[in-house]
Amino acid sequence: MKKIINSPEQVVEEMLQGAVLAHPGYLRRVEGFQVLVRANTPVEGKVALVSGGGSGHEPSHGGYVGKGMLDGAVAGAVFTSPTPDQVYEAIKVVDGGQGVLLVIKNYTGDIMNFEMAAELAEADGIKVDRVVVNDDVAVENSTWTTGRRGIAGTVFIHKIAGAKAETGAELAEVKRVAEKVVTNVRSMGMAISPCTVPAAGKPSFTLDETEVEIGMGIHGEPGTHRESLRPADETVEHLLNKITADLPFGSGDEVAVMVNGLGATPLMELYIANRKVAEMLAEKNITVAKTYVGNFMTSLEMAGFSITLLKLDEELKQLLLAPADTPALVQV
């Protein structure tokens, strides 16, 4: 395992320290916890947003802490959802009296840990509500599974619910908007090379010289199948068709697009993928209001990418385009 780290046990702690040292104007560390909050938290009179999950998805989630997005982010061990005490602490620190919305990705562990934290906070009299993100269309949604995974679409929930909270809207309103995003967002990804959890010391999976994994999760979880690497356009076609068929997205729709790198994908390749995404959407008569291309929800040094589409209405569009000022996403 070749990594620029000091020791596998220290990666999360040292990353959090390094992030706060890099962005002191944005971030503050909650002493003794793996929690990053806005430097000026709590913001009085504003619903607070707390997100989080395992580490290894940087800039998620700490990178989105700042004006217009999150109030706090909780970092678990690499690829491991944070524990309830950590989430509970984040909730307490960011609550400005208007309540806290938890943004949870749909993984059993995340749900249980965040729920336990919510119970603890509610016992303290803090208003807590939650939204569960499940945008990954690679995972078939059937009644007998735990549903779909939450992946890169989560960033759109941060952005839009965060913008809504910034308007002074109350908790139920912020939650309504967040759920509208969840209802309208779909993603799917693929990987061409694996990643190595530092504490594990070896890659979570292996792919041969030409093999790729389609429908890959963001924790190295296997996807729907393996196949031979195809030209970028064909891969985009496969992923995007799955996505558009799902909601479905159709002629006349307006969307936001995210072409998300998984960590080791050159931006050049993401732009090449976006070219095909834009072309296909134009063919389908789907208008793109805003495109994000880059590393937003990564999987350590995995190479590959995901595509996310969010169907917009006027409300979501305004909130998406609203200003944000965070370490990882600034909009003016």
Binding site: T80, S81, T83, P84, T108, M112, N113, M116, W144
Partner: protein
Amino acid sequence: MANCLIAAVEAIGAAIASNKEVLTSLDAAIGDADHGINMARGFQAVSGKLSTLAQTADAATVLKTVGMTLITTVGGASGPLYGTAFLRAAAAGQGKNTLSPSDVGNMLAAAIAGIKERGKAVRGEKTMLDALEPAYEAFKSAEQQGRSLVECLAAARESALDGVMFTKSIIATKGRASYLGERSLGHQDPGATSAYLIIAALEEFCRSQEQREE
């Protein structure tokens, strides 16, 4: 009491530590390659916490400490589940100073009930329950036949292992592996495996205690 129970938990921790890579590899195949790491981190923290406990602590205090420590250090799915299990076992063992086979059976039952409540899974969904429920049933029937604690645990361990093997034959419908659908077939569930390891470690520990007492 505390002494003995703490030693038992240490034995569990040792078993988890020496199987850290096995559990992580199992999780790499159908999950996210962290189960062994998570559990080992948790039990290492438990060990630290227990060393600060008073020698006079009762069973419930020890088990509650284990549960709270697991909840706050393991994370993922297994943290809240095993943590809840130990908390429920603590509640079931409240006030006890010695633990009869029947007491242990009740604590096991309470632990399983806690896991089911927290995780909303049932047996047959390719989770730790597929090791724990058969283990409990075997324990219970041995206990009802008047067997010793070691014998009850041996029966539980055997059934737990059968349960682990059974997980290979089914599709996961709970937890991270459920995202795989059919692709989860043929793989052994990491959580069921850790559950088996815990029971096996308990059995071995009690057997060595018994021998010492003889």
